[in-house]
């Protein structure tokens, strides 16, 4: 393995609780060099899953969080100026392509469509990355893999992947794990008692019933882990739920009030 991607190796085993056979499916897809797309609501474990798989497959993981200001240059690289003149600086995608790493584009729909097309030649049988600005064609390292993730829920109609992009990927649907598994995850991650974790999960289940009624998304597992962590650190239950679960989720006072009601339904009045 090239030393330039060594820092991207995942050193310690990340905690991941499988909810189905996604580990086997993903491993086979990686063997077949099939680019993968992970879909699911925010905070349900997509990124953690990728980290876990990178650790399991012992591949470096180069992560890019996409946003709408991101350009193709941010992905593939650009010319910079130094004392001798111009030098080419590889972008994260080029780095992964050259030296063999998993390139993970988080929230890929956030990126502009003219940006996402640069991955097209990489995701068919050519497996090349043309750097037009540099006049170079980079042939992908055999270990290069591409994984993207996105949340089909809240993006507007206009923010969608082009069919020509979509059809290059295999896809795994993620959702919040069933209650029992989610309780285990919260219990493990935030080190609270199982009983408390179960109550947090019950609050989240109620909030998810409001999806589409003013809430774009229910409370995610990640929020529960945060709340649990605060509680474990000695913050009062109600305070922690407000800080980590209710207030970040929405600015709408009515919905906040209902969410506080759900917290109350588990932990009693303040």
């Amino acid at each position: 393995m090239d030393e330039r991607v060594l820092p991207y190796l995942v050193a310690n085993e990340p905690y991941y609780h499988p909810t189905g056979n996604e580990i086997e499916v993903f491993s086979s897809a990686m063997d077949r060099r099939l680019p993968m797309m992970l879909k699911g609501p925010t905070g349900c474990g997509k990124t953690r899953f990728v980290e876990y798989m990178a650790w399991k497959l012992k591949r470096p993981l180069v992560t890019m969080a996409c946003n709408e200001d991101m350009t193709a240059s941010d992905l593939v690289g650009r010319w910079l100026l130094d004392a001798q003149g111009t030098v080419w600086q590889d972008g994260p995608l080029t780095l992964a392509v050259r030296y063999g790493a998993i390139c993970y584009l988080d929230e890929v729909v956030e990126a502009r469509q003219d940006t996402t097309v640069v991955i097209h030649p990489l995701t068919d049988d050519r497996r090349v990355l043309p750097l037009d600005k540099r006049g170079e064609v980079v042939h992908a390292h055999p270990d290069f893999r591409l994984v993207v993730s996105y949340n089909p829920g809240y993006q507007s109609v206009a923010k969608d992947l082009k069919p020509s992009t979509r059809q290059r990927f295999g896809a795994i649907d993620f959702d919040f794990p069933e209650a029992g598994v989610e309780v285990s995850v919260v219990e493990h991650e935030s080190e609270v008692s199982r009983d408390l974790a179960a109550k947090l999960v019950a609050v989240a289940a109620q909030s998810r019933a409001l999806r589409g009624r003013g809430l774009e998304e229910g409370m995610s597992t990640r929020m529960l882990v945060h709340a649990g962590g605060l509680i474990a650190a000695g913050i009062s239950v109600h305070e922690a739920c407000t800080v980590a679960m209710v207030a970040p989720l929405t600015d709408d006072r009515e919905i906040q009030s209902a969410l506080n009601g759900f917290v109350e339904a588990q932990f009693g009045p303040r």
């Binding site: 010319w79 100026l81 004392a83 111009t86 009515e254 009030s257 009601g261 917290v263 109350e264 009045p269």
Partner: protein, 669 residues
């Protein structure tokens, strides 16, 4: 000698009486006869105009009721003792009229404004209404879908405290609960909602009452309350504490009558730490716990326990007193458990809230149905601001959009397609804009890079800004040009041979053409009202239509008629802007005079309402600007739109130019 303000008071009162005489002669006569009595009761300097305002309003909506009211005033001058309560009471009756004329008639015949006089109760009712949305969300979180939450009518006849009840998928809650205030109120609402949710999740609903005696019915319900709460607490343990706050019955406070014993049993079933040595409570508790340990879902077994308890109650020679309500206060009346058909009907005379009004039996109902079938125009309800009550009259004005529905549908499909394309635009950088000499960017700015290299070679400190990238598009604005199409626009502008409407059209054309080509979006709408039930609203050019031949023809064909109910039109225009994904939203109002309408005799009402509409638009990020041709507009325009948001242009030839200038200013902001 009268002071000037008294004179003006008297004048405005006379003006209203005059208006009433023209509109409704019978009521006017009866009211004139009632005046001496009223004067004797209120003293000579009553605030007559306010009383007449309300009666005029009522007479416009329902002449019969106005007559009834005028006749009552003659014998009951105390009705107008509290003017605020009187006004609330009349408005409440008018609102009832549109839903159920029978109840409205009953309201004006029998009920009295005193029920609306209690400021605390009105405050509590407003508080509950403000929490309604949140409570519906809360209920939804328990997988319970109710159509809505409403509040009981004010207590007029009975002195009983109203109880929450579920009726036809609506949760009715009391206007106010004495002794509960502040934070406690929110807890009580949630306790009630969670209790009702428990019933809807776990209770068998609408069981036939059959021949069960009242005591048995009450006790089955009491055990049922405890049973469903137990089940609910299994899933939502925090509710135990929430409900527990309201269980306060003790031997000392509750006593030994049926009501007290029932409250104590309810508490004993809720709270394991509560101690009560009464034999009946103890036996009830023991029976319940036995059954609960076996199977909480077997509700028939609990019926048998209730039967046992009923026998004991009868032996104690206790019975359910009239006016009994389940304790504690958060619990509903359990009517949802029972189906009373086939049982003795309850006395409906004192409970107007259960009165079933046959639709279709009333004259107006049939008329309404007919229009619903034939009328394809779309209707929107908006509130109106009542500045004397400091409150919104819900669903007061009806905006009617003209144009066949099919056409509108087609436009909407077009809008959706178009909107997607336009929204996509926001994400693409604008390649026509290049930002040069940047410290960070996508590519080298060659000129700057060469300069930098030269400076470097000549051992000067180079300028690091050698990159460039595409700029993003500029911030977009959506403008609704709102044209006043009232009858007064047929007038000629002073000193010219053009009508006001012609001038407005010219300005609209200027604005539509100026903005049509760019990224800013413009819509041209017009309005004219004929009373609160008919605010006509026309979309001459909508956001996603081009300003083409059809739209220009529509604009040219506009005629001035009817009146100017500005508030409703402003609210509708804001609603249209809400759907626009742009950075700036502007309503540009073109008018020639002050708001007025045929069913409003009060001077300030529509001005204040328009001011409120402007303020609520501002709260939603919509700027409102007014251009008026009325030279005397200063006073009201400033009040409605604020001191910087209007322009009085009184020359016909300059108006279109001024409109353009105003627009440039607004878009530039």
């Amino acid at each position: 000698m009268k002071r000037p303000e008294e004179c003006s008071q008297a004048q405005s009162a006379d003006r209203r009486l005059e208006a009433l005489r023209n509109a409704d002669r019978r009521t006017h006569e009866v009211l004139r006869d009632a005046l001496p009595t009223l004067e004797a009761h209120l003293g000579p300097i009553g605030r007559w105009s306010e009383i007449f305002d309300s009666i005029c309003q009522l007479s416009m909506e329902d002449t019969e009721a106005a007559l009834t009211l005028a006749q009552r005033l003659r014998f009951e001058p105390s009705l107008v003792e509290n003017l605020v309560a009187f006004r609330r009471w009349v408005l409440y009756g008018i609102n009832l009229h549109s839903d159920s004329p029978k109840r409205s008639a009953w309201h004006f015949r029998v009920s009295s404004p005193s029920a609306f006089a209690n400021e605390d109760v009105e405050g509590d009712a407003a508080h509950l209404l403000s929490r309604r949305e949140a409570l519906l969300h809360y209920l939804h979180g328990f997988d319970v879908n109710l159509k809505g939450i409403d509040i009981h009518e004010p207590e007029v006849l009975s002195h009983r405290q109203a109880v929450s009840t579920v009726n036809q998928d609506l949760l009715w809650m009391p206007r106010s609960v004495p002794g509960i205030s502040g934070l406690e109120r929110d807890l009580l609402y949630r306790a009630t909602a969670a209790h009702v949710a428990a019933h809807l999740k776990f209770s068998p609903l609408s069981r036939p009452v059959g021949n069960r005696a009242l005591t048995l019915v009450s006790l089955i319900a009491l055990l049922e309350d405890a049973r469903v709460e137990r089940l609910m607490v299994r899933e939502y343990p925090g509710l135990h504490g929430l409900w527990g706050r309201f269980h306060t019955a003790t031997r000392e406070t509750a006593g030994f009558h049926f009501t007290g014993l029932a409250a104590r049993l309810a508490r004993a079933l809720h709270d394991p730490s509560y101690e009560d040595r009464n034999d009946w409570v103890v036996s009830g508790r023991r029976a319940f716990e036995n059954l609960a340990n076996r199977d909480l879902h077997d509700f028939l077994a609990f019926d048998a326990a209730a039967r046992e308890l009923t026998i004991q109650v009868n032996q104690m020679r206790q019975s359910v007193p009239s006016g009994y309500r389940p304790a504690p206060i958060y619990r509903d009346d359990n009517e949802l458990l029972w189906d009373r058909r086939g049982a003795t009907p309850i006395d409906e005379s004192v409970e107007p809230k259960y009165e079933v009004v046959e639709s279709g039996s009333e004259r107006s109902k049939e008329g309404v149905d007919e229009t619903v079938h034939n009328d394809v125009r779309r209707r929107f309800r908006y509130p109106e601001w009542d500045h004397r009550l400091d409150a919104l009259r819900e669903d007061w004005a009806t905006v009617i959009e003209s144009g066949p529905a099919a056409h509108r549908g087609a436009v909407n499909r077009f809008v959706q397609k178009q909107a997607q394309r336009v929204r996509g635009l926001e994400q693409t950088p604008d390649r026509s804009i290049r930002l040069n000499r940047l410290a960070e960017g996508d590519e080298l700015d060659l000129t700057a890079a060469v300069d930098g290299a030269i400076q470097q070679r000549s051992r000067l400190a180079p300028d690091g800004r050698i990159f460039r990238r595409h700029g993003l598009r500029h911030r977009a604005t959506a403008v609704v040009l709102l044209m006043d199409l009232s009858v007064s626009t047929r007038r000629f502008v002073p000193g010219s041979f053009t009508t006001v409407l012609e001038v407005e059209k010219r300005a609209a054309r200027v604005v539509a053409q100026a903005l049509d080509s760019g990224r800013d979006r413009v819509a041209v709408h017009g309005f004219a009202s004929n009373g609160r039930h008919e605010v006509n609203y026309q979309r001459i050019k909508d956001f996603d239509e081009p300003f083409g031949a059809e739209q220009q023809a529509r604009l040219a064909a506009l005629q001035g008629s009817l009146s100017t109910r500005m508030g409703a039109a402003l609210r509708h225009a804001s609603a249209a802007l809400d759907g626009q994904a742009v950075d700036h939203k502007v309503i540009l109002m073109l008018t020639d005079g002050e708001p007025s309408d045929v069913d409003v005799v009060e001077d300030e009402h529509l001005v204040e309402d328009a001011r409120h509409a402007v303020a609520s638009a501002a709260a939603r990020g919509i700027r409102t600007f007014c251009l008026t041709l009325d030279r005397q507009a200063d006073v009201y325009v400033r009040r409605i739109f604020g001191s910087r948001n209007y322009l009085i242009a009184d020359r016909a030839d300059a108006f279109a130019g001024h409109t353009g200038d105003a627009l440039v200013r607004l878009v530039a902001h």
